[in-house]
Symmetry: C2
Subunit: 422 residues, 2 copies
């Protein structure tokens, strides 16, 4: 993509209403646009990051479940059935927005913040014999929460993109077995996203979902909104809700030895037990044709939230720093204004391909602006073409990490750059 | 995908509340699940069709615009600014769904049924010089409409997936030029979806969008909900809103010569003129630094609606018939119960690949059920393995059209089947 054609431009100054570091940086670099606090448009660069995260998540989830897509709207009755209608304090409903619409229809719907109430009747429709179990389905879909204060950018959205998987079992044992499989896939996802090393499975309370412990995946992050208690040796953590003497005893942990750090949640898994199948009357018939409650699990990953966490995790004072696996483009080509430089830069762009390169082909930008924008936008590899590099028949290849390591690479061997960097 | 593993099963009987032919068939075959009238889940088979339609649309739209993703929620103020807040009779807003939520936040938002009000301020943020024009952006996103009666299945949703592209120009001429480019891409999309021959660009009134004519794309369909007046020779049509003596005169058409047919809308394009840029104060500065109104166009395609129209267009009394380009799987393998048949069917499945085949490996289904399900699910090519076909060292290859043409194909040459069918 040529920068002269890109829909967005970088900004020096942004609205003072954008408070979080992630939203500030992503806004300045042209990845997102704030419609209101907690509600964002993903602009072309941001859309690419979202799609890349989605594809990694989809790839791993396809190994344990089938993809489907559930609606954002649902009827109120099933939320009453699970007793969550009046319990969830961020639940939104719809109504006709004006007089004309009200005359036409007075119908009101729930805007789903999660989908246990929706998937359970669907699963019940298709699978009721023990032979049909276990199974799991997932979706990547937009959720809604009526957050009073949404000041954390992509970390706490009124509208956000989430992957939610649901698993169904004939016994607690089988649920536990699948739960371990899901953990493996979650580890793989966070590894591929470049945050595996700093992401910990974290014991937490079950909230509205379960009376058991649930598990969060927390990424260590100075600016994170959660406190967790880290057991680095065993690569697990405990969130502050369960960091009590009582829970400590249950979990067999000496809390005095744990390390207290700030972190940000990137996923969660809940053993739902039979809570939802009981409320929504989902039973299976066993080998003796006896009706039994279905065991369920729920497994979430916030896609747009991950984009925010990864932004804050890797950004430096110059701007964004994307892991290669989700960067909008691998290369950012900067040619210092000069006919010969531009000729070589064009060749580099053609060789590496427009899908992999953001190419600063602007007429007007100063050298300083070009480098500042490349740093701000944060593609993993910067390729600089200047008189100096051409004297050696080379381009300069700079890693966009906080160290900005670089080397010279021959112009005639651009094709081999990808292999060299791999 | 093995049928024994597929999340869904086909159903003989479905709820009497499902009224439309498309929703009935898609429900019976396990493609969709009705949450309520006009609100559907897309189950794994349905999700594949949706993704295939999306990919064709995306592929063509990428040639004329950049993809982004706007939110479903917006603030009320900009809908007041364009005077559409009180005019759109299907406009929905949100509110806290219960007492607890209301105590936490009383905020209300619009649930966007279209995105002119959202994209215009974003475009204004990034592009205000004549040098920045023209440009176009699009999204594939979920829209909401508070339909009083939603009895047409995927054809009229309270929640539906849509592609909407917006173009921005410095003059009416430039808008018209782009409008023609968009038409070409629309033609390409409908061709690739297999409905090109029966899809007509249709003159219509502009509705809430414009005082000019707008254009619909209408697919001729006996069960369609619209009447259009067809000029087959010139491959254009007129919808009944503009089929008046007054409009006839304006358009230079002799309405007596037109053919009246039923049709279903699959897309629309609107020259928005400067309506939205005026209301939302979007101006550009020209070469003399004079501020002028931006010209806009809006270009929609209903993704989920298309799935419904294509269902009704091609279905026969046995079930669904998918065009190859959007079928969930190309092949449906049916092995009649017998050890040798199953061995060969396994080999066919492995050779053609699990991504391309739905393989009926069920233990329990009868021969009749197997064929009935293959016909109902509607993959383009059925591959039958039976004693009779094996006697000739062949499988039978059947086309799932209303003619069910077939031929025998050697087992040893399964690899070449794809080439043979192409």
């Amino acid at each position: 993509m040529k920068l002269s054609k890109l829909f967005t431009k970088t900004s020096k100054n942004i609205s003072s209403q954008i408070e979080s570091v992630n939203a500030q940086l992503l806004t300045r670099a042209g990845y997102i646009y704030q419609e209101m606090a907690g509600v964002y448009a993903f602009l072309p660069l941001g859309m690419k990051v979202i799609k890349n995260i989605e594809q990694i998540v989809r790839d791993e989830m396809d190994k344990i479940g089938e993809e489907l897509l559930m609606p954002a709207l649902s009827g109120r009755e099933r939320w009453h059935a699970t007793k969550r209608h009046d319990a969830i304090d961020i639940l939104m409903s719809t109504r006709a927005a004006n007089e004309k619409a009200l005359e036409k229809s007075t119908a009101e719907y729930i805007l789903n913040p999660t989908h246990e109430e929706i998937i359970t009747p669907i699963a019940k429709h298709f699978r009721t014999s023990y032979k049909d179990f276990p199974f799991a389905v997932y979706q990547i879909q937009t959720k809604f929460r009526n957050e009073a204060r949404a000041k954390s950018g992509l970390l706490r959205g009124r509208e956000f993109i989430m992957k939610d998987l649901y698993s169904f079992h004939t016994s607690e044992d089988d649920l536990n077995k699948f739960y371990e499989l899901a953990k493996e896939r979650y580890d793989a996802i966070f590894d591929r996203l470049g945050i595996g090393q700093d992401t910990y499975i974290t014991f937490a309370s079950g909230g509205d979902f379960t009376d058991d412990y649930s598990h969060e995946y927390q990424t260590v992050l100075e600016s994170g909104e959660d406190v967790i208690y880290l057991d680095r040796k065993n690569k697990v953590a405990y969130n502050k809700e369960v960091a009590t003497p009582e829970d400590a005893k249950k979990l067999g942990v000496n809390f005095d030895e744990l390390e207290q750090v700030m972190a940000s949640e990137v996923g969660n898994i809940f053993p739902l037990s039979t809570k939802f199948s009981e409320h929504l009357d989902y039973k299976y018939s066993d080998e003796d044709n006896i009706q039994k409650n279905v065991w369920m699990g729920s497994y979430g990953i916030g896609i747009s939230r991950l984009m925010g966490v990864i932004t804050e995790k890797f950004a430096d004072d110059k701007g964004l720093v994307w892991p290669e696996s989700i960067a909008p483009y691998m290369y950012h080509i900067v040619a210092l204004p000069d006919e010969e430089n531009i000729k070589v830069a064009n060749k580099v762009y053609e060789t590496l391909g427009e899908d992999k390169c953001l190419y600063d082909d602007r007429d007007s930008a100063s050298t300083g602006e070009r480098f500042a924008d490349a740093d701000l936008i944060g593609c993993p590899v910067q390729i600089v073409v200047s008189k100096k590099t051409l004297e050696n028949n080379c381009v300069e290849v700079i890693s966009r990490s906080d160290k900005f390591e670089s080397f010279m690479h021959p112009i005639d061997e651009i094709e081999s750059l990808e292999t060299k960097l791999a």
